[in-house]
Amino acid sequence: MPLTIHERHLADRYLSGELSGIELEEFNAKLESDASFKEAVELQKLIYSGIAHAREEDLKKRIRTAISYRKASVPFGLKLILTFLIVLVLGITFWSYLGNEFEKLKPYDNFISLFKRQEKTDTIPKKKTVYIAKTEKTPEESTQNPDSAAADTSSIKVDSAEVANNASNEDIEVKRDILIASFSLPVTDKTKQQDESLSKDVAQKLPDADLPQDDRVDTFIVEFWVSPIHYKGYKMSKNKLVLFGLENMEDVKLFRVNSSIFMRYGEAWYSMIYTYDFTPYQKLKDSEMPAELK
């Protein structure tokens, strides 16, 4: 039997603990005497607890929505393991590639060689190759002493300090430029002939007149050299020509047109200039060749 409004109000006060005195005694008496009344009060009590439970769940739902909790994608334990592995790998890498000073102390080259059999140390010692550059006298000095081809090779610059430091531990193999041959080579003058007979006669007849002399050289002392680094180039002074990288000496011919010197090597023509520094060969194109040489 449903409760009346008055009975519900009484039950509400009873469940809230607000009933006291005579009201409470009467209410308890009615509970004991009326089973349906007791059942209705029990139901109301259950509904009240359900309402409280619903209210609490509603609040919890709102709170969980507000915090927007996100579970960590990587578990904490896995993070610890990954951190440990990273530290371990970095440590091994650092240990293996630490500076050279530690190599003297340890009997192995790196961490990995611990698990390998150590090789014997009596291997063929490494050779260090040192290239020695040829230092020559200046062209002016060469002209004063044209037969000084051999002497030019005497002054050789050697990095003695570096060689001395490494000599104790390694065998040094010295490679030098090699002089193949040296001989005089005539210069073929291809300049257009001009009537110079009068000027020559006047110069001969009047030596004190200080007239300009014709000092063109008709013969060059040509040296053929081979470089260990296979360099190809030349250096030319007034009467001396140093050639690097030309294998067939008999194919070299020298020509003059006006005051310019040209070299023919096989079928190729090269323009030669007077220079103290080694210069690569300047091959002439057909359009660049003087008419006298064609």
Partner: protein
């Protein structure tokens, strides 16, 4: 919404639910650390935190809590109690208690409450949980008088009672 520490208690007493998200965002990070330090899993932290904060919210609404208390101290104390309760529940797991049977029926009733419309739910909460008078209910829900408020409450409560009886196969007579 920014809430002053001193205003939290009064806002809760006035059932201003907008303060709940603010409190949740503010206290969840520190509460999470406390919960994990007490041996609970990270995945359980939202459950424990929401339980503690909801409990505090309801206690402040239902009981005569003074306005000058420190909400933070009160909340974290409640959080520790909540953590201990959960640990006790886990220790007692497997032992069937009579309270468990009652709580199951309460869950059924709670489900019935969610079936009602929002205003009916709020009316029931206000009268049963907050224990407001019909005059104050009329003022909050903007009813014309306390009588109307009482009628509306009785209508909502009877509707809930009917649903509960149907769910529990209890005779309607």
């Amino acid at each position: 919404m920014r809430v002053n520490k001193k205003e939290i208690i009064s806002e809760i007493k006035h059932n201003n639910e907008a303060v709940l998200p603010v409190l949740a965002k503010k206290y969840f990070p520190s509460s999470r650390r406390i919960i994990r330090l007490n041996g609970l899993k990270d995945s359980e932290t939202p459950l424990v935190f929401s339980r503690a904060l909801a409990h505090v919210y309801l206690v402040i609404q239902q009981e005569d809590v003074p306005h000058n208390i420190d909400f933070e101290d009160y909340f974290f104390k409640s959080l520790h109690e909540c953590i201990n309760e959960i640990k006790e529940e886990r220790r007692a797991k497997g032992k069937i208690k009579f309270s468990d049977l009652v709580s199951d029926k309460s869950k059924v009733v709670a489900d019935c409450v969610t079936i009602l419309d929002e205003q009916s739910q709020q009316l029931i909460y206000t009268r049963v949980i907050e224990k407001l008078s019909y005059e104050k209910i009329a003022e909050r829900f903007r009813f014309t008088s306390a009588v109307i408020a009482q009628q509306e409450f009785n209508r909502a409560f009877n509707q809930l009672e009917s649903i509960v009886k149907v769910r529990m196969n209890i005779s309607l007579n």
